[in-house]
């Protein structure tokens, strides 16, 4: 006797259907599981048997063979428990087969269904194929917000069995829950002084320019970087799903939050943690977790140079390829890079008040830790000075006001009607011809000038926009 249920696997920031095929044979009692299961999947056998029995249903005392197809794709996690259980019951004719429905969920020994990271994947697959999905109740409302999905939540195996016996199509899916937005990372108006850095943050947000903040400790580099995510427009619905899927693949439940991710890996993070890794299955790294959001490298020069250089591929292509034994996965990794760094190892070079103890050779070596090609990616390089205690606390613009301006500028940039005025073009050409800018540097200044023009609601890029872009192109 044979039955199949559909479940889902997360592969490289996307979902793939997995067919859970169950055959119940005539031989003596045994339970076999194939299709590259990891340990967690293999242990499903014991959970499934106990959950079925606890739910007051007969578990077939025959040979049960389960295959997870495609069999060459490595499977991991505990979310295959429920589809295996339902498959076994369908194959032994206890319930009708759950035709087409996508099923995920981990089973407790008493038959309770728990929600795992694949829950979101099930909703996404449901939306894509137009079939309903059956998931643990706890997370059902959250993932039901995936547009076009039909989500049924169950809290126990018994409930799932009843639902299938009465026919899924006769029951309405759960209503989508409004996702609760986590509080913002503080308002821009809390940043005292720092007009230069504040302007750079605004330009960076509007044009998606990578930003390097440098200066002594205590100037508020981290504070500024965190507030950059607040002035970016919120994620679109589709982006929110994309981001949540990647986070789910890393084992985090993020919900369909519209807030842009802000990832801040520590400088001791391994290369695998940065770009992705995992054993057996591919797990996304920080660059992918920061997809559509901000990757903040605090103390950039403290990162090993080799690790920093792994960022160049995602910066170039917008995705990373993670090759693991058995599987090569591609994760999206289109992020906004913001880095902060001290001017020297002790942090006080260039400070107006504190002496710097570093020998010049040490400072030179410190700066060499960031490769030229990576430094080239930063369109904006600004100094964040240490705040004097008596800094006159002028009230500065709140995040909301800046966010509105940034959103307008971003849409103007997307429309792409901002041409370079001939005088502005000439200004740039002369700067390049005089050796003031390299060819690449000229392109960068031109890009930033376009963003500045968009922010100032100009019709085209004028000389003054190029001039300001030039001034924001500092040196570390």
């Amino acid at each position: 006797m044979y039955a199949a249920t559909i479940s889902v696997a997360l592969v490289g920031g996307d979902v793939r259907p997995v067919e859970v095929q169950v055959h119940v044979g005539r031989q003596n009692e045994q339970f076999k599981l194939s299709g590259l299961p990891d340990t967690a999947v293999r242990e499903a056998k014991d959970r499934v048997r106990a959950a079925v029995v606890s739910s007051g249903i007969r578990f077939p005392n025959r040979s049960v063979t389960v295959n997870l197809a495609p069999a060459h794709l490595p499977k991991s996690g505990t979310d295959f428990d429920l589809p295996i259980a339902l498959g076994v019951l369908a194959a032994s004719r206890e319930i009708p087969p759950p035709a087409g429905a996508v099923v995920v969920g981990e089973l407790a020994l008493d038959g309770t269904v728990r929600s795992g990271p694949s829950t979101l994947g099930a909703a996404v697959l449901s939306a894509r194929t137009g079939t309903p999905c059956l998931v643990g109740r706890a997370a059902a409302g959250g993932v039901a917000a995936v547009p076009g999905s039909r989500v049924h939540g169950v809290s126990s195996l018994a409930e799932a069995v009843n639902l299938l016996r009465s026919g899924l199509e006769h029951v309405a899916g759960v209503a989508p829950e409004e996702s609760v937005e986590p509080p913002e990372d503080g308002d821009l108006s809390e940043v005292m002084g720092q007009p230069l850095a504040r302007r750079a943050v605004e330009v960076a947000a509007a044009g998606g320019h990578h930003l390097l903040l440098h200066g002594p400790p205590g100037g508020g580099k981290t504070m500024l970087a965190r507030r950059l995510s607040g002035i970016l427009p919120p994620l679109t619905g589709a982006e929110a799903v994309e981001v949540a899927l990647i986070h789910a693949a890393a084992g985090y439940e993020r919900g369909l939050s519209r807030q842009r991710p802000f990832r801040s890996p520590h400088h001791t993070a391994s290369r695998a943690a940065l770009v992705g890794g995992g054993s057996g299955v591919a797990v996304p790294g920080e660059v992918s977790m920061a997809h559509h959001g901000i990757l903040f490298l605090d103390e950039m020069a403290e990162f090993p140079r080799a690790n920093l250089d792994t960022l160049r591929q995602p910066l170039e292509d917008g995705h990373v390829t993670v090759a693991r034994r058995g599987l090569t996965a591609r994760f999206p990794a289109s992020f906004h890079l913001v880095a902060a760094t001290n001017p020297c190892p002790c942090g006080f070079r260039g400070d107006r008040r504190k002496p710097c103890d570093c020998r010049p050779a040490l400072v030179a070596r410190y700066r060499q830790r960031v490769s030229g090609p990576l430094l080239d990616r930063f369109d904006l390089v600004v100094k964040v000075g240490r705040l004097e205690r008596d800094a006159n606390a002028t009230t500065s613009e709140p995040t909301l006001v800046v966010r509105r301006r940034v959103a307008l500028a971003a849409s103007r940039l997307r429309d792409g009607n901002l041409g370079l005025q001939s005088s502005a073009r000439e200004m740039l050409d002369v700067a390049v011809a005089n050796g003031l800018l390299t060819g690449r540097g000229g392109e960068r200044v031109g890009r930033v000038a376009r963003t500045i023009a968009a922010l100032s609601e100009g019709e085209s890029v004028e000389e003054e926009h190029v001039a300001e872009a030039m001034a924001l192109r500092g040196e570390w």
């Binding site: 007009p195 107006r352 002496p355 200004m427 190029v466 001039a467 030039m470």
Partner: protein
């Protein structure tokens, strides 16, 4: 090393100030000395940016006045003073604590070369090849004090060569000018003590020039700004206040000046070209 000459009290170029010392030393000289009054700018190697900015602006201001900037080529304040002087093509004299051909610290080789290239002079008591031993530096300081008409101390702890230079200078009757500092800062403590002991507090470049002109005569030219930027340079953070412009206006003006090649950036520091 070619071009070096040994000079003593009998030689023409021998700085007359050295005769105030009990035992006027014989010196090695590279490059050229001038008759213009020399002003020593000295301070700690472990200086702050504030100190660097000041030392550099003093170096420039002194050179602009047509005087010679004297210092010891050490890291920190000394380097900044030399750089400020050389930036506007002034006459610089460096007195070394090592052999006349030994540039210490090594990263100041460009400054060493520029001093010679722009008509300045390198002086040392020690023959070519003498290594930069610590104990030679205090002896070097008495030469700095003696050949200078006045001594300016920018930042100094209570222990350090700058204070030795100042005390030796005072004993030789040279006026000592000192930048006052916070009472709780190590690198101001030496300065503040000098003031307590009778040195003149310096209230800025303009004030220093005024005071110095009372000592060595009126300057050849006056302290000025170009393109709205002080000749000795300014930190980009201070530009909006200096120009009374918004940050955007400041950046536009700065960018234009830069593109026209009228200013140059040294890190976050802006200097007129």
């Amino acid at each position: 090393m070619t071009g070096q000459q040994e000079i003593g009290p009998e030689s023409g170029p021998y700085p007359s100030g050295l005769l105030d010392l009990e035992d006027p030393p014989r010196l090695w000289l590279l490059g050229g000395l001038r008759g213009a009054p020399g002003i020593a700018v000295v301070g700690t190697r472990r200086c702050t940016r504030y100190g660097l900015d000041l030392a550099e602006s003093f170096g420039s201001a002194i050179a602009r006045a047509g005087w010679t900037t004297v210092s010891g080529l050490a890291r920190g304040i000394d380097t900044a003073a030399h750089r400020g002087c050389l930036r506007i093509g002034g006459h610089a004299v460096a007195v070394l604590g090592s052999g006349i051909d030994v540039c210490y610290p090594p990263e100041n080789k460009p400054i060493y070369e520029t001093i010679l290239g722009s008509g300045g002079a390198i002086l040392s008591e020690y023959a070519a090849g003498t290594p930069p031993d610590r104990w030679r530096f205090p002896a070097r300081n008495r030469i700095i004090a003696a050949i200078s008409a006045a001594i300016v101390v920018v930042e100094a702890a209570v222990t350090g060569g700058a204070l030795i230079t100042a005390r030796l200078g005072a004993e030789l009757g040279r006026p000592v000018f000192v930048v006052p500092g916070d009472v709780d800062r190590e690198m101001s403590e030496g300065c503040n003590r000098l003031i307590r002991d009778g040195a003149h507090p310096v209230l800025g470049s303009a004030d220093l020039l005024e005071e110095l002109s009372l000592v060595v005569g009126p300057p050849a030219s006056v302290f000025d700004t170009r393109h709205g930027i002080p000749a000795e340079g300014v930190s980009i953070d201070d530009l909006p206040d200096l120009w009374s412009l918004t940050i955007t206006e400041t950046l536009i003006k700065l960018g234009r000046l830069e593109m026209e090649g009228k200013v140059r950036r040294l890190g976050d520091f802006v200097v007129p070209v």
